[in-house]
């Protein structure tokens, strides 16, 4: 087990020492400042125009969702961009040879890498999600609903993409892996919108196509469920939201996503075990 923690530690350390985490947090801070500025001016504008409190709350809730949507995008980008080179790059450069011949099993190597990225991405997601909600709570006295559940779902999305990236990077080059993972996420994103549109227009075949896309890559389904959990009661009641609303991913889809993550990680270990280095 020690080998796993050595690899996990060095993977986390790499993100810190290469200033990856620092730069991502700096960019995140810039985003939070922009978000806070927008909330401040919006609140001041509402006060000037005496907008009814109920309407203010709905608009602030929508703004908060936009903020969380942007955070979700940043987490997805951070997940794929930081992990895409770790296995394929080390295989191509030969760095992995000096590690893999040590008394450490390959599953430990893969698991260690996964845990290192998991730690780094969890810290990033925590800081960013907490940041948006602290800004909302501090300036508006409100934060997203069901935040722990939403955080868990967004974290799951990141872990799913991480496992998929590691799995593909064992067999493909860095560039190909990046294109494949982002392509799959893009497919899921488009599938999500097709599902929403199909549900709103009562077109079951379109909904089915969207669900099929989510089965190929369930990352976007996790975000849509997180958005559903966070949205205001009114948005839930009238079933209209740009992020979820009309068609909400079921609990079965969440379980499927969790299984997908495990299978992707298992495959990553299996492929690393089987391949020549």
């Amino acid at each position: 087990m020690t080998g796993i923690w050595i690899i996990a530690r060095i993977t986390f350390q790499e993100a810190v020492r290469k200033k990856l985490l620092g730069m991502a947090l700096a960019a995140g801070a810039a985003f939070l400042i922009l978000f806070a500025t927008a909330v401040h001016f919006q609140a001041a504008g509402f006060q000037e125009r005496h907008v009814p409190l109920f309407l203010q709350r709905q608009i602030f809730s929508a703004m908060q969702m936009v903020g969380m949507y942007a955070i979700n995008f940043l987490i997805v980008a951070m997940t794929v961009l930081t992990s895409v080179d770790t296995i394929s790059g080390e295989i191509a450069s030969g760095t992995v040879q000096a590690i893999a011949m040590k008394p450490i099993d390959r599953w430990q190597l893969m698991t260690g890498k996964w845990l290192g990225f998991c730690g780094m991405l969890t810290a990033y997601a925590l800081v960013m999600i907490a940041g948006v909600n602290l800004v909302s709570a501090g300036m508006l006295g409100t934060s997203a609903r069901h935040l722990p559940v939403a955080f868990a779902l967004m974290w799951m999305e990141s872990m799913l993409l991480l496992s998929t990236t590691l799995c593909l990077s064992v067999s493909f080059s860095t560039l190909t892996t990046g294109v494949l993972v982002l392509g799959l996420h893009g497919l899921a994103f488009l599938g999500g919108w097709i599902e929403q549109a199909g549900s709103l227009t009562d077109t079951p075949k379109a909904v089915l196509a969207g669900v099929a896309a989510s089965l190929v890559m369930p990352s976007e389904a996790l975000w849509r469920r997180a958005a559903f959990e966070m949205q205001s009661p009114l948005a839930t009641a009238i079933n209209v939201s740009p992020f979820s609303g009309a068609s909400v991913p079921s609990s079965s889809m969440i379980v499927y996503a969790a299984l997908y993550t495990c299978v992707a990680l298992g495959l990553a270990v299996h492929r690393l075990n089987a391949r020549d280095l």
């Binding site: 080998g3 790499e14 030969g94 760095t95 000096a98 590690i99 099993d105 020549d276 280095l277």
Partner: protein
Amino acid sequence: MQSLISAAQTQDATAAAGGIDPADLAISTKSLRKVFRDKVAVRGLTLDVRRGEVFGFLGPNGAGKSTSVKMLLGLVKPTLGSARLLGKPIGDREARRRVGFLPEHFRFYDWLTSEELLRVHGQLCGLRGDELARRIPRMLDTVGLTPHAGKQLRDYSKGMLQRIGLAQALIHQPDLIILDEPTSGLDPVGRRLVRDIIRRQKERGATVFLNSHLLSEVEVTCDRVAFIRAGTVIEIREVKEFERSYRNVVARVGRLAENALHELEAWGTEVRLKGSYLSMRLHAAEFAPRVVQYLVEHGVEVYEFTPQRITLEDRFLEIVSGDEGL
């Protein structure tokens, strides 16, 4: 009865290893073969390396040396055949704990300092606490990098990377050290340092498996060498044999009749006369006096007679000839 069977099995195993007890072997391979899709990289490597010796592994580019080394280390899976490292099957974790490896082009995370790199590798090999803390500065000193201990690897030259690679291979005092082109990128001072390190490791009782193109280095450091071509061992020889192998002779002669050349073939091959220079390769170094005697007895004027040593390089080139390499 059981002990009789066991004794018989031991004898069989000893016989199979060419008179060497398998327990005395650091590396033992049998018909090790690797095929990448339609390309045969290693045809059938059969090799025994004794514990405590420095063993050279020589062959032209594309001969399958690196693939063989990777198979020994468990980095590449053999298509066929078997191998044992320090008595354990290849890939065994306990065996790997006792092996140090320097890849041909050592690369590691360039954001680490050399101290941090040695700490990571030491920890991966099971070293902890004070022992690891003691060994790191000692290893840095051994490879001459103490003044650069705090530098990140990205600031290292190729030679310095090779030195720190050597240090990570030795940090846990392995019983078997596999060095793939250790002097690659090193200046003469660095090459001398590697030679000294190999000598010290041998004195410590470690086995060194050296894959190198620098034949002069191999000749100085190795006890035995294997010549490999197209993934097969062509020949294994003691390096000392080369020191004794005065089998080529060149003589400056006068009045040598053409028909005498044919008779000289009784003691050697490649008998040639170019101007006044006679050259031939003797079947054995001991035939040199007989050739001189024959020449003198047959009225040939002998002005010079110079036995020449067959060097490792000569033998290497002989083996390589006909192989275009890759």
